[in-house]
Every structure is written in structure tokens, then in C-alpha cells.
Amino acid sequence: MARDAALPIAVRRLTKSYGTLRVLDAVDLDVRRGEFLTLLGPSGSGKTTLLMMLAGFVRPDCGSIAFGEREVIRLAPHKRDVGMVFQNYALFPHMDVAGNIAFPLKLRGIGKAEALQRVEQALELVKLGGYGARRIDQLSGGQRQRIALARAIVFEPRILLMDEPLSALDKQLREHMQIELRQLHERLGMTTVYVTHDQREALTMSDRIAVIDQGCIRQIDTPKEIYERPTNRFVAEFIGESTFVTVDVDTAGCTFNGIPLALASQPARKGPYHLMIRPERLSILEQSVSAGVNVLPATVTAAIYQGDSVLVHASLPDGTMVSVRASASVRAPVAGEKLNLGLNAADTYLLPVEESAA
């Protein structure tokens, strides 16, 4: 399918409440033509509700959803022409594999011969050529996942929705399928909205990630930006491990417990900020300190041997606990030892202190 056949999605002021519980709060979202966008959030954040509204299964209270130029918010699900992969696949147990994949073709009045050919093409695409006559209960979880995908794309929808399609698979298969789904998306180029609560999955697959919490989109950006430049504490904590310490910014610069810190970029306002520390960006400094590395003195509380590395727990001067990985091949620090932790200025990223913590 040509990429220009894909449709952009424009969501405006989309709102849904169940009683007093606001599931979606005036959500605005733009999914670009042919983009792989992931809705990432904890359970109950509203990400699945948003996806179900795109598919037409949940009726919003108000708002607007446009596929391309066309407003679809009041359109019945069967008229929306979007493909969808369900979390439990929802493959019809009373039909064989070919019957399942041919189902949308039959409904569109496509002739038997052409349908047969397209079913086989779709099966080839998901690497299950020749599986048409299998019964659904003869398939493994991974195979069902692929058949569900084949069924969702066989009628060439211009938008593809996926609701945690990999959550039922084991870790190894999941990682494999992530890459395969990503490659398939690159081949087909349909606008894809993908829901997951697995941050690594989101980082691996997406062009952009929309982080959702309590019915609001907290940040929408590329995986790299989301990980390295989160705009708020929720995003920083939800994606990756991080520790926060409070630092002060004034005209002289940024200080942590009196220790001056070099920053990647100077914030505009003065006042208290959160310094986001990703453990993997910390290092244990030996004697010499190169320029552009901030030095944080710390006291080791525990060192845990883990085979490939040693996990060192240490407390910073303000009492905050941080963990850092040290190579197992060098001398392991011992509890009580004082050492210096290094954090590159480029990784020294400040978050504004939010008025009301969520």
C-alpha cells in the first residue's frame, strides 16, 4: 500500500466521564499520516478508552475525531474502515484461519477468487503461508497474533489500531514480534495507533509516544525525547528508572547541596528544580575528573555482585539513595566507602517543580 493512502487522525477536545470519574479530559491528539504512534500509560489512564473511541466502540461525551478530512465521531464501528488487533485477538473460533481473514473481504463483497488470493497474500505477509485450513485452536499464541494482524490488514484499512497485541506472549516472542510489527509497518505504511503499558515496547516500536495519565496526554514526543527530555515528573518516573534530587537555580548557576552543577541548558527561571538522575548515566569516578562532568560525592551503603556487574547503592549528601552499576572486573566498593559519582553535564537535566504533585 502506498504511504500517501494512509490517513492522519485528528482528535480534538475528546472527553468521556463515567459518573464523576473523568476517563478522558479534553484530549487533543494528532497522529500523522503513516505514523506509528503509541499510547503509553499505566492501567486506568484512559489509553484503551481513547483507542476504543477511535474504533467506535466507546461513545465519547463530546469532542471530535477526524480521519483525514472526515469527521467520524458519530460513525458506527462497522463503517469506520479501520483495522484493529484486539488484546485477546478475538479470532472467530467457528471459522478456520482462512475464514477469519476472508471475513472482512466477504463483507465488502469481494469475489471468492480475489478473496482467496488476498488471504494467501496476507498469510505470506505475516509469515504463515499455507495455514489457511488450520483451526484457530490449533494455533500457538504467536500464530494467533499474526492471524489477527493479517485479518486486520487484509482489507487494506488506512488506519490500524492495536490494543496491547503482544501482552499475552512470552518475553522472547514479544521482543521478536515487536521488531516484526515495526518492519511490517514500514512496508505497509498505514497510520498506526498502538496501545501498551510496556515502556520498552513503546520505545522500541514507535515513531512517537503519547504518554497518558488520568485521562490527559502528559507528553507526546519521539522515544528519545520522551526518555531524555521528559517535560514533567510523571513522564520521567513512568519511563525508565530515575531518582530525583532538589537543586537550586539562581543567577550564579545551579547548585546541589552547595555543589555547583554544569547543565545541558540553563533554565529560564530561578528557584528550586528537580534534577533527574538516570542510574545508567551515573558512573563511579576514579581520581581524575574531566571537564563537563559533574561530581556528586556519595557514601556506599551496599554493593551487590550480579555477575555481569556490581550494583552499588549509595547515598548522596542530602540522603537520597541512588544506585549505579560498576564493572565487575574492577575492585568492588564496600559499604561505608566514600566515592565520587560522575554525571555528564549533557545528562544533567532539570525538571521544574510542579505546583501540585499528581
Partner: protein, 296 residues
């Protein structure tokens, strides 16, 4: 059988045997009861059906069934009534089960109690209650005429109509229960998937919902049909003597003619026919399971 040799092998084997015997002995009283009250009398009746009046072996009772048209008529009407009752139960019960399956669980449970309520009343009482409702001066005819729906009293009872009304009323829960259960088991995502793939609600029903609820429908219909085959009280009371099903014929043979052999042979034939229907149906249902419908 080769027994592994080794320390304590014999003792462990003995323990396993004792355990099994102990478990089996728990079912002993029930087994005894079934043998005494079911197998022995049924076996005895089976035996009787092959004896002539003098007590010698004979196929006379079975021959008479083939020759005398009244017997054939009893079987035909039994199957006809059972079939019509089953069909009406399906027409009434399937939509009812569908509505119940779409309700929230609490509401569905309350409605289900209403469906089950007739079960808590004696069958005889219900049958006579219908007699009161349906007769010429009964509630239904009185009100129908009062409201101007019809002019002369309808013949609602002492005929096929009354028998069917009574039987459908009694049999309906037997259909609704399994159909409801199989509908509840249908994952709503199947219907969402059907809609998403382009099926209008009507087509989603015919292409997805109905096939998935079919195992429950077959089970329910089968149960109704087979239970109908043995009906006695309802046709006797509401049929007004005009409806002679096999069970009524058996009663006549015993009460009027005191012919245990003839009655037994009727019972045996009905039993065998029922068994055959069950067997055929089990083949069909199993076939259905083979196609994956049973997994839902």
C-alpha cells in the same frame, strides 16, 4: 503388567489400590439406589415386553405396534407435539436468552429467577392453572371478549392448543438456561471484531453470534425435545382426552387393559428412539465442536 521391583513397591501399590477402593465405596449407596430403583424395574419391564399372556417368549407386543394404527398414531403425535413445542420454545426462548445475556449480571439474575419461578411450583398445579386460565369461561376468554379482541370463546384447551401452551410453558426454562449460558460465554470482543471488520449488527449476529451460541441452542432444543417425548400430565389434562401421546397410551394400556406387556413394549420403543436421537445429536454436536464452536 510388569511391576517395578524396588523398595516398598508392593506396599505402595497396595496403598494406591486401597485409596481407589475407598473412593469408589463412597459412591456405593447411590449406586445401590440407582440399581434398585432404576435398573431392576426397567430391566423387568423390558423383560415383560417380550412375554405373551401365557408367559412364553413372543414378539407379539411389538408386532401389534406395527399393525395397529392407533399405536403408530400415538408415536406420530408424540414426535409432532415434541417438535412443535421445541420449535416454539426456540422462537420464544432464544430472543429471551439474548436479552438476558445483554443485561448487566444483576438484572439478568433477577430476570432469570422470574424464568425459573415456574420450576418451584408443582407441574400438576401449573397444568391445572392453565386449565383455569384457558377454558371457555376462563380468564383469557373472558377478558378477550370484554376487550373486544374476539367475539366467541376461543378453543384454547382440551385440544392441541392447550397441550402446546402448557408444554411450552413448562419447557421454556430448559431451553433458556443452556442458551443463556452459551451466550454469556461469548466474548463481546468477537462482536466488536465483527463490527470492526465491517459487519453491521445484523450481519454480525448471523455470521458470528448465532454460530457461537449454536452449541447451547442445540443442547437446549435437544433437552426440550427429549423431555417432551415422555410428557403425560399436560396432554392428559389440557388435551382433554383428544391428545394421546405415547405416555398416555402406556397409561391406558395399564389402567384400562391391564396389559403390562403392551405398555412395556411402548416404553422400550420410546426409550430406544430417544437413545437414537441422543446418539445422532451427539454426533452433530461433536461435529460442531470439531469446527471450534464448542470452544467459545
Amino acid at each position: 503388567m510388569s511391576h517395578p521391583a524396588g523398595p516398598n513397591a508392593a506396599g505402595l501399590r497396595r496403598d494406591a489400590l486401597v485409596e481407589r477402593l475407598t473412593l469408589f465405596s463412597l459412591s456405593g449407596p447411590a449406586l445401590l439406589l440407582v440399581t434398585m430403583t432404576m435398573l431392576v424395574p426397567v430391566g423387568w419391564l423390558f423383560w415383560l415386553s417380550f412375554l405373551d399372556d401365557a408367559g412364553g417368549f413372543s414378539l407379539e407386543h411389538y408386532r401389534r405396534m406395527l399393525v395397529q394404527p392407533s399405536y403408530g398414531r400415538a408415536f406420530r403425535i408424540t414426535f409432532e407435539i415434541s417438535f412443535i413445542t421445541t420449535a416454539i420454545c426456540i422462537l420464544l426462548g432464544y430472543p429471551l436468552a439474548y436479552v438476558l445475556s445483554q443485561l448487566p449480571r444483576r438484572a439478568a439474575n433477577i430476570c432469570m429467577i422470574a424464568v425459573m419461578l415456574p420450576f418451584w411450583t408443582s407441574l400438576l398445579v401449573r397444568t391445572y392453572a392453565w386449565l383455569v386460565l384457558l377454558q371457555r369461561q376462563g380468564v383469557i376468554n373472558t377478558w378477550g371478549i370484554k376487550l373486544g379482541l374476539w367475539d366467541t370463546p376461543l378453543a384454547l384447551v382440551h385440544n392441541l392448543n392447550g397441550t402446546l401452551i402448557g408444554m411450552v410453558h413448562i419447557m421454556l426454562p430448559f431451553l433458556v438456561l443452556p442458551v443463556y449460558a452459551s451466550m454469556r460465554a461469548i466474548d463481546q470482543d468477537y462482536l466488536k471484531a465483527a463490527a470492526n471488520l465491517g459487519a453491521s449488527p445484523t450481519r454480525a449476529f448471523w455470521l458470528v453470534f448465532l454460530p457461537l451460541s449454536l452449541p447451547g441452542l442445540i443442547a437446549g432444543a435437544l433437552m426440550v425435545f427429549i423431555l417432551c417425548l415422555g410428557f403425560y400430565v399436560t396432554p392428559a389434562v389440557l388435551g382433554g382426552g383428544k391428545i394421546t401421546m405415547v405416555a398416555n397410551r402406556i397409561a391406558t394400556d395399564i389402567e384400562l387393559f391391564f396389559n403390562w406387556g403392551a405398555a412395556s413394549s411402548l416404553g422400550v420403543v420410546l426409550f430406544v428412539l430417544t437413545g437414537m436421537i441422543l446418539y445422532l445429536a451427539s454426533r452433530i454436536v461433536r461435529l460442531d465442536r470439531l469446527l471450534g464452536g464448542g470452544g467459545a
